[in-house]
């Protein structure tokens, strides 16, 4: 691609340029000595052909739809269809969230994404003592299928895809979705959506955990197997780097840990379920963060596609091209937003969203400007959604595919990200895989170190956050309307749950729970039993208690 001749010419010119720069810098020194990305990767003043001289166009770049899929999985890019505008939402009761969803669909959103409240996320019902004060606060409260029906009321399940950010109780919430589709007479091969269902990143980063890693991975493999057989359009896992990054990792760590998590799931399904890689791998999906360092993020997303394609082909012998495709959702970085001068967050989000699009995302959530203060207001959500629409339909960046390919800088940075990610991946291989690495606390500690270092850099003003450590506005009056979940939501939900428990056939519930328990003990796939249980109004916690009883509860090894 880059000929020796070009490198020779370029090197000579570069030498001349460098001499010139030296003279200038001697007279007018640079503003600071070291220039790094937000994740501390060193950046050169300029990049040239010699920085990518070892690249081979066919082997390393090629065209979209061609191995190694650096430039995208789909040949046609965004011309046929933009990425899915998928705003994460959920608050209070199912009825309220359903209202928000209909509002979002009316303003041009093209896919749904569900935020659940903490009791639901952790597998507790609203009436658990552990749930006190949490009901409906960060998402919608779901205790039984009764709530779920309200959540999806009036949403055409065969037309709209729904993503559910749910992890330990993923089997249960998915079972509710399936049961509702069945009630509506929609065949399972017609419904599409995503359950996040990625427990490894919970142990690593977000700490929404229930059972130990081994059985947690088993439950994930159950869903992958069930989806492969009966719900072929469903993404049964969304392997997530988002939370790893939010926990303070670097971009390289996000990339490496996420992909290594994905490999762990592939290995488990092959080993435990005896499925061929190509039977299930096309339904694996990913979820990345788009942080503030523009080019670093683009390079990360491009590198992710290439690493995954290589890993699937070389490590796992996948043959179906769809198995090699990394399809991913992106969310702009919540941790980059500031409570100070919150309107600046609109600008940050726009730049991050642009990076996600230039990185070739299939789906995007843009954060609302007020998310660092409270749940997003309708108005703030609208600006965030409009940000995506402006990028798609005004800026023209979606007209051509992977416009930054061939840039000396972007390709060199992409290569560097990939190289550093593989180093981590191999290190984790040597530890015996991700479950073993998590037990040793390796990824947890790497992230803790990175986040502490970053905070120190912020405090020392080595890294800048506008409004926080630079251009600070003293006596700032923040006039953002604050959305709050009324405490009456908890009382209302408690009543609902009590009503469900009073009306249902408790004997039938006990029976279906026993069936789940037996399936767990025998190592059978729990999905059919979960569907049966939720149809009989077994609650999220009741089923999770069965899991906890059989598999035990995970104990945080306390690594910081």
């Amino acid at each position: 691609m880059i000929t020796d001749d070009l490198v020779n010419k370029s090197s000579a010119l570069r030498q001349k340029w460098e001499d010139e720069v030296k003279k200038i810098v001697a007279k007018h020194p640079d503003q600071k000595e070291s220039w790094t990305t937000v994740s501390d990767l060193g950046i050169k003043r300029i990049y040239g052909p010699e920085d990518i001289k070892d690249m081979d166009f066919e082997r390393d770049i090629a065209y979209p739809g061609q191995y190694p899929y650096l430039r995208g999985c789909q040949p046609s890019g965004y011309r046929g269809k933009y990425w899915t505008f998928r705003m994460f939402s959920g608050m209070g009761t199912a009825v309220e969230t359903n209202k928000r969803w209909k509002y979002l669909l009316a303003t041009g959103q093209t896919g749904l994404s569900t935020a659940f409240d903490f009791p639901t996320l952790m597998g507790y019902d609203t009436d658990s003592p552990k749930a006190r004060g949490e009901c409906g606060k960060v998402g919608v409260a779901i205790d039984s299928i009764d709530d779920f029906r309200d959540l999806i009321s009036g949403i055409p399940l065969d037309k709209i895809t729904t993503s559910m950010t749910i992890n330990p109780p993923a089997t249960i919430l998915w079972a509710m979705y399936i049961a509702c589709a069945q009630e509506q007479g929609i065949p399972l091969n017609k419904i599409g959506g995503t359950i996040q269902n990625d427990m490894l990143k919970e142990f690593i980063a977000q700490k929404t955990f229930m059972c130990p890693p081994e059985p947690s991975v088993k439950l994930i493999s159950d869903t992958i197997e069930f989806g492969t057989k009966y719900v072929p359009k469903w993404n049964t896992v969304s392997i997530s780097g988002y939370h790893i990054r939010e926990a303070g990792s670097t971009a390289v760590q996000e990339l490496a840990f996420t992909l290594r998590d994905g490999m762990e799931y592939v290995e488990d399904v092959v080993r435990r379920k005896g499925l061929q890689v190509d039977e299930f791998a096309p339904r694996l999906s990913f979820f990345f963060n788009s942080h503030i360092d523009f080019f670093e993020e683009i390079a990360k997303l491009r590198a992710a596609r290439r690493i995954w394609a290589k890993a699937m082909r070389e490590r796992y012998g996948a043959k179906d091209p769809r198995s090699l495709w990394m399809r991913f959702h992106t969310q702009t970085a919540g941790c980059s937003l500031t409570a100070q001068q919150p309107y600046n967050n609109v600008v940050r989000t726009a730049i991050q969203a642009l990076a996600g699009v230039l990185g070739g995302t299939q789906s995007l959530h843009t954060n609302s400007l007020d998310e660092v203060l409270c749940l997003p207001s309708d108005h703030a959500v609208q600006i965030a959604l409009r940000t995506q629409q402006i990028i798609a339909e005004e800026t023209g960046v979606a007209s051509t595919i992977d416009p930054l390919a061939g840039s000396y800088f972007v390709e060199a940075l992409t290569n560097e990200m990939e190289e550093k990610a593989w180093e981590y991946i191999h290190k984790i291989d040597d530890m015996g895989g991700m479950v073993a690495a998590i037990e040793k606390g390796f990824p947890q500690l790497e992230i803790s170190d990175a986040s502490y270092k970053f905070q120190k850099q912020i405090d020392a003003q080595e890294k800048v956050m506008i409004g926080v450590n630079k251009y600070v506005q003293e006596d700032e009056q923040v006039d953002i309307p604050i959305v709050e979940i009324d405490d009456s939501v908890e009382a209302e939900q408690l009543n609902r749950l009590a009503e469900v428990k009073r009306k249902r056939d408790n004997r039938k519930v006990a029976e279906t729970l026993k069936d789940i328990e037996a399936a767990c003990k025998k190592g059978e796939n729990v999905m059919p039993y979960c569907i049966e249980a939720v149809k009989n109004y077994a609650t999220v916690q009741e089923i999770c208690d069965v899991y906890r009883g059989v598999y035990g509860e995970y104990r945080d090894p306390g690594i910081y």
Binding site: G133, A247, S451, Q455, M465, I482, E484, I485, D487, Y560
Partner: protein, 134 residues
Amino acid sequence: MAERRIRILLSKPGLDGHDRGAKVLARCFRDAGFEVIYTGCHQTPEQIAAAAIQEDVDVVGLSCLSGAHKYLFPQVVKLLKAEGADDITVIGGGIIPEQDMQPLYDAGLKALFTPGAKLDSLVEWINTNVTPRA
């Protein structure tokens, strides 16, 4: 040689597991010379109050990003008081909207920190406002 050293219990009440801030603070307080007892996440107010008493700490630092601070923070203060341990300073941090601040101070919280607070400012607050018990 007699020397009082500040002991701090850092904890995350409720079900939220976003412990980035708490973990950064734990290291920062250690580096400031405090003895930090870190309990991790998913704690009930009862567990936190019991731990604070067993550990004889001067300060309890609570971090909550789930919006449940309105219930959880005052509950810790209340339980400490019930055990006659209201001399323990309780501070909190997280996503706390302006309008929740006064009610939390009224409930006995001594300081509240929101995103963007500098580590140094937290250490300084403790050094200024907390004297290890005599």
